[in-house]
């Protein structure tokens, strides 16, 4: 193995805190420590304390407190990952759960430990602020940002600017409902931009600068809607002003009388795209634009707080990589599924699957987190990305070192070759952990993962996205699954409703309900029949989604319900 790559002064891939950031976090931890002490002493009631703990990411779930830690735009450094592993080992049950919002959740936290945990997080420039509540949540980002061959603009600097703009924003602390923003810089949507309250796609402007496509009013939950395209030419200098106007209009006109109609998607549908656009434009026109202007110097100053990887692969990196692929079929299979083309010659991005066959999607043990941190230091400039698909990415790996990385991953049970295949299932925590859930998600994912464990079978089936939610809040993104599975409660028992044809990408679509919900013990078999029907009827290189779109639901309905 090569020596560890020397760490740059600033973290690669994310903003490096300064003393102002650190002093703020330290104050915030002590503020929460006092609040927890008052709650335990009884001077704060649960009703008074609940909004305070939620604003610090602390939920009371089914079995214990759950702490949701923010991972801004899904980027961690190895030091932060090791701290998460330490917290899991010391304060939780030796594991953490990576979420569909690129965050990490600890499921077994004690209230009285929380201030100490937040202090430890603050020591590595992390926190849990705005991971709950009706505020602007963690801004999510393309997991291949700054690395992808197809990327036009690296969106992470703008994600950081949005993080700073939205953190403790005084106007947007009590919005009608939570508010989620995703940002990408690639024409190939890997962030589900059209399923977010606001989705941004950065691209080059004609003048050589940066501009944005803006989508608004997308979302899942009880009312799944593909967002509308509001603008294709938002200049970088107006990014904050225009988003301020967009959220202000929502804050003023969004419904507060009905929690199920409070998201911005309902407002956009009610006003119509033009109606909403007019209100935003009017607000935008009335603003002090100079105050909200985002000048190039500010963007450059934020960019300067990001560490930059020194991409310098040997000339024969690609040739060595090709030789390793030819010599090792198992490695070659993993490369086919778990890598993504890099913009720099001799480099590649590697996806670490957190979906072992029969495992819990998104879970990683403390030891695995430490291993990933070590491997990031050795092979990827200490940088780790969390994907909304609940996997991890090492963004900048030398091609000639990928085989060694894969071997190390395999030794840590982190080399499942299933990215984008049927084993790469999104599942929310479901009724095993979540107080909101109606049904369990994880056991269905585990059974499907075991049923389709064979890498050969998965490759034969090809690209297919299964997404499972344990309730209509859709944290498991089931509406955007090629096959979506929604857990429902019927008189206290679990049933599962299937939807087909959803897609989170540039061809975004909402899955359609196939038919009556199925009992838990019939669901996995039904999906196996559905997959069999696809294999019989697909033509050429069709993905499952292509076959569904070509042939419609009837044959799949027959397959699922004929023997049910």
């Amino acid at each position: 193995m090569p020596d560890t790559i020397p760490a740059p002064a600033l973290p690669v891939g994310h903003y490096g805190y300064d003393q102002v950031d650190r002093a703020f976090l330290a104050d915030r931890v002590e503020q929460f420590r006092d609040q927890v002490a008052r709650r335990i002493a009884g001077t704060l009631s649960e009703d008074e304390f609940k909004p305070l703990r939620l604003m610090n990411g602390l939920y009371l779930q089914l079995h214990a407190y759950m702490l949701r830690v923010a991972i801004p735009y899904g980027v961690l450094d190895s030091r932060q990952m090791r701290e998460l592993a330490h917290i899991a080992r010391t304060y939780d049950r030796d594991y953490g759960h990576f979420t569909t919002r690129q965050n990490l959740q600890f499921n077994w936290i004690r209230l009285e430990d929380t201030p100490d945990i937040l202090a430890r997080l603050a020591d590595v420039d992390m926190h849990a602020i705005q991971t709950s509540g009706n505020c602007i949540r963690n801004v999510t980002c393309d997991q291949f940002a700054g690395a992808a061959q197809d990327e036009l603009v690296d969106p992470r600097v703008h994600a950081e600017i949005l993080r700073q703009w939205s953190t403790l924003h005084p106007e947007f602390t009590f919005l009608p409902r939570k508010f989620k923003i995703a940002i990408s810089g690639s024409p190939n949507d890997r962030v589900a931009a059209r399923f977010h309250d606001i989705g941004l796609v950065a691209k080059p402007a004609p003048d050589g600068g940066t501009q944005f496509d803006v989508f608004v009013g997308g979302g899942m939950g009880r009312t799944p809607i593909v967002g509308v395209h509001l603008r294709d030419d938002l200049p970088e200098e107006d990014l904050l002003a225009y988003l301020e106007a967009m959220v202000r209009v929502y804050n003023e006109y969004g419904r507060r009388d009905n929690i199920y109609k409070a998201r911005i998607k309902i407002l956009v549908q009610a006003l119509g795209t033009e109606g909403y656009r007019q209100k935003v434009d009017a607000e935008f026109a009335s603003m002090n634009r100079a105050r909200y202007r985002l000048p190039p110097e500010t963007v450059a100053a934020i960019r300067a707080r990001f560490g930059t990887p020194d991409l310098n692969a040997p000339d024969d990196a690609a040739a060595q990589f090709d030789r390793a692929r030819r010599a090792d079929p198992a490695f070659d299979r993993w490369v086919r599924t778990n890598t993504h083309p890099h913009r720099a010659p001799g480099y590649i991005s590697a996806v670490i699957s957190l979906k072992p066959a029969g495992g819990i999607p998104g879970d990683a043990t403390s030891a695995q987190m430490d291993t990933v941190a070590d491997l990031a230091d050795r092979y990827a400039f200490g940088e780790i990305r969390v994907t909304h698909m609940q996997n991890l990415v090492l963004g900048h790996v030398r091609q000639d070192e990928l085989h060694a990385l894969w071997q190390a991953l395999r030794a840590a049970d982190l080399a499942s070759a299933n990215i984008g295949l049927i084993g790469d299932i999104i599942a929310c925590p479901g009724l095993d952990y979540c107080a909101l859930a109606n049904a369990r998600s994880i056991p269905i994912a585990q059974k499907l993962g075991a049923r389709f464990a064979s890498p050969e079978l998965q490759e034969t089936i090809g690209p297919i996205e299964i997404k499972i939610s344990g309730c209509i809040n859709a944290c498991g993104h089931h509406h955007a699954g090629h096959i979506g599975i929604l857990g429902v409660d019927k008189k206290g028992e679990e049933f599962f409703q299937l939807t087909l044809g959803g897609s989170p990408g540039s061809d975004a679509s909402v899955g359609q309900i196939l038919g009556p919900a199925l009992p838990e013990d019939a669901t996995v078999d039904a999906i196996a029949r559905l997959v069999d029907a696809y294999l019989v009827h697909r033509t050429g290189g069709e993905r499952f989604l292509d076959t569904y779109r070509r042939l419609g639901a009837a044959l799949f309905k027959d397959a699922v319900y004929a023997t049910a």
């Binding site: 709650r39 335990i40 009884g42 009631s45 649960e46 009371l60 779930q61 089914l62 079995h63 214990a64 407190y65 049950r93 077994w108 936290i109 004690r110 209230l111 009285e112 819990i360 009724l431 095993d432 952990y433 107080a435 859930a437 109606n438 049904a439 369990r440 994880i442 056991p443 585990q446 409660d489 206290g492 028992e493 679990e494």
Partner: protein, 112 residues
């Protein structure tokens, strides 16, 4: 807790009272006034006709008892040991189904 699912009870039948501990959030079941156990098998069984009053009494002293979110859970009438009627409450009582080591019974054994 205000979750509507916590208040579904039949006129007949029996229930037990549950809550989460304030300090660690863990689930407990009322054994007697002021006495709570992590094991549902220890729970006091209360006829549904009396359950609302018993819940109110337990809720009134929840801060003193170090609890949060007191409510009642209907149980099966034909089981020897208290068994909730809903899958949600069965998971609360017997632990997550995906981690056998994390069930209350396994924890009790580990600490025995």
């Amino acid at each position: 807790m205000s979750d509507v699912r916590n208040n579904r009870r039949e006129a007949g039948g029996s229930s037990v009272i549950t809550a989460n501990r304030l300090l660690d959030g863990r689930i407990v079941w009322q054994v007697a006034e002021g006495d709570w156990s992590p094991m549902i098998k220890d729970a006091r069984i209360i006829p549904n006709a009396e359950i609302e009053a018993a819940i109110a009494q337990a809720a009134a002293r929840q801060q003193a008892d170090g609890l949060v979110g007191v409510y009642g859970v209907q149980i099966e009438s034909d089981e020897a040991a208290p068994t909730p009627v809903t899958v949600r409450e069965r998971i609360r009582a017997f632990g997550p189904t995906v981690h056998p080591d994390f069930t209350p019974a396994a924890e009790l054994e580990a600490h025995a």
